[in-house]
Subunit: 339 residues, 2 copies
């Protein structure tokens, strides 16, 4: 073990620990000669201040925690990138945990982060997260918390999302304006707020345009990590409702699965059936036909969430009151070949 | 601030701190009644052991650091997934940092992690990393280190890679066996070992098959985050060497850029020119034509790297000698439509 203490440095130079400490901090009441001797020896011995002791003194860890459902996902990759950029500006470190869409893991990960005494937590909830006691425990520990993307409306904290309902509403109105009349929806799981909101936006767009909502045209895609749900449900919808002329998919990954199946059975997109995705993953621009989709600003969501969290950490540190924010970032429709 | 101490719990119950501590740890010399009272009060007050104090005592942070060049990358997403899975098994947390392919950031991030006293570090080097003093500083701090993917042969530590030279050699031999004779190589930057090795494998395959190596058929693609280098160099090679019949690309991303350009100018793949990628990103299976590529086992690389690191952390903790390992994982060629 190579953990040299200040005590050892002081002993080797025959000075007091206080003087050695002052020398390293550049205090003016220590002579230049002593300062140089201490710095030189500290460098020679690879001395680093014991961060555990520093933490114990300052009660700060300069670390935040991030819990996301899955890592293998373009959207979350960009979110993390945004968060790391903000953390870097402030010399903060980020512990990243993956809930794998499991409530059980999420609970345990919160405990780990609270035990670690991180200065704040960023979270996007798992698909299973329908009660929020474990999220409340973050708040009752007085640890700043910002939820993003998959949030809980009932939890009292800052939140960063897009307006999923409006984005889905606009998307379906766009399809209707293009002349599509029989539009199926491949939705996400039943619990996550963003999946509910995208479904509600779809439904409202139909109603506002005098198209009948038909629940048999709604298919559930649970899996976030591959496109098989999209592929299998595309097979199903063609059997049960071959009359549809468009599909609005809850994610690009689901849309990719649909396109894959339609390409295989040679259904022409968008002439016979249009496909619209959600999120603007990189691959949506390289698949053939190129996928029309909704641009979900992951990088921006990460940056804003982190920046709000760091503000709240600072306010708390200075015993100032925190006012929670609910930010909704703008989205836009990206028209490509599939619609 | 809601950081209840054990002292406060003991005071409220009129017992000693030692007894309170023993009660929470379930020691048998504390009565059940006292145990229950301590546990109840600790829960009521949201007591968590002060991890800074625990760390100071155990000299363990139960945290490791991970530095990768970029997050927005299928391969690294799978690597992280593998690392987090191994960490979870051991209740370890992972601090993730992104060097953005910059040596400067990498140096600073190592300092941050060492100051944080992480128990070990996992790293894949940036494209700029040609000297290794900062990596050596990890070793001289006696902090276990495992390098993966983009490694430094000169650094004395455990390493997990694929055999890039052999993988590239096999890939180019495969193209030659398929009948391609004029094969260009879109290589990566000059510094990273894996980019050098893939180039050397390409060159050796040509030589071993009596094809002349021509340096004007080698193009450098520096950018890891988008496909423009592949796209632009495809344009260039068609102007300078329209006679080529195949391209071996250093990554799938580069290959995607090539396919994008060839699709635009209607060069048929693989009839006129074959394209072979490297890494097996998800999108390589959905682009049209589907990309043939080399399967690089990111998840496995992450798991093995983490598991070796945790072994070394344990050996160090028990003052046992560590023998460094160099693991080379197997790769395979995935034949799709582009070759």
């Amino acid at each position: 073990m190579n953990n040299i203490t200040l005590k050892e440095i002081a002993a080797q130079l025959g000075i007091s620990i206080t003087t050695a400490s002052k020398a390293l901090k550049g205090y003016s009441d220590v002579s230049e000669k002593t300062k140089n001797a201490v710095i030189e020896l500290a460098q020679k011995l690879n001395y680093t201040p014991n961060s555990f002791a520093v933490n114990l003194r300052t009660k700060e860890s300069k670390t935040i925690g991030l819990i996301i459902p899955t890592l293998v996902n373009d959207f979350f990759s960009y979110v993390i990138k945004g968060i790391l950029e903000e953390a870097k500006k402030r010399d903060y470190l980020v512990i990243i945990l993956q809930s794998n869409e499991k409530l059980e893991f999420e609970k345990k990960q919160i405990d780990l982060l609270l035990n670690k005494r991180v200065d704040g937590i960023l979270m996007s909830l798992s698909n299973e997260t329908g009660d929020f006691d474990h999220i409340q425990s973050i708040i009752s520990h007085d640890t700043p918390l910002v939820l993003f993307d998959k949030i809980a409306k009932l939890v009292n904290c800052s939140k960063v999302t897009i307006n999923d309902k409006k984005a889905a509403y606009d998307a379906v109105c766009y399809l209707i304006k293009k002349g599509y009349k029989k539009i199926a929806h491949f939705r996400g799981s039943y619990i996550p707020q963003n999946s509910i909101d995208r479904f509600l936006g779809y439904k409202k767009a139909l109603e506002d345009n005098n198209l009948t909502y038909d629940s048999s045209l709604v298919f559930v895609c649970e899996n976030n990590e591959d496109f098989h749900d999209g592929y299998e449900n595309a097979k199903k919808v063609m059997k049960e409702h071959p009359e549809i002329d468009a599909i609005f998919a809850v994610t690009d990954l689901v849309a990719i699965g649909i396109i894959k199946y339609f390409n295989e059975i040679e259904i022409s997109i968008p002439e016979r059936i249009a496909v619209l995705g959600f999120s603007n993953w990189f691959m949506s621009s390289v698949i053939s036909p190129k996928l029309s989709t909704i641009d979900q600003p992951g990088f921006e969501i990460g940056k804003r969430s982190a920046s709000i969290l760091f503000d709240e950490i600072n306010l708390k540190k200075n015993n100032l009151p925190v006012v929670f924010q609910s930010i909704e970032l703008e989205t836009s429709i990206i028209e490509r070949e599939s619609t």
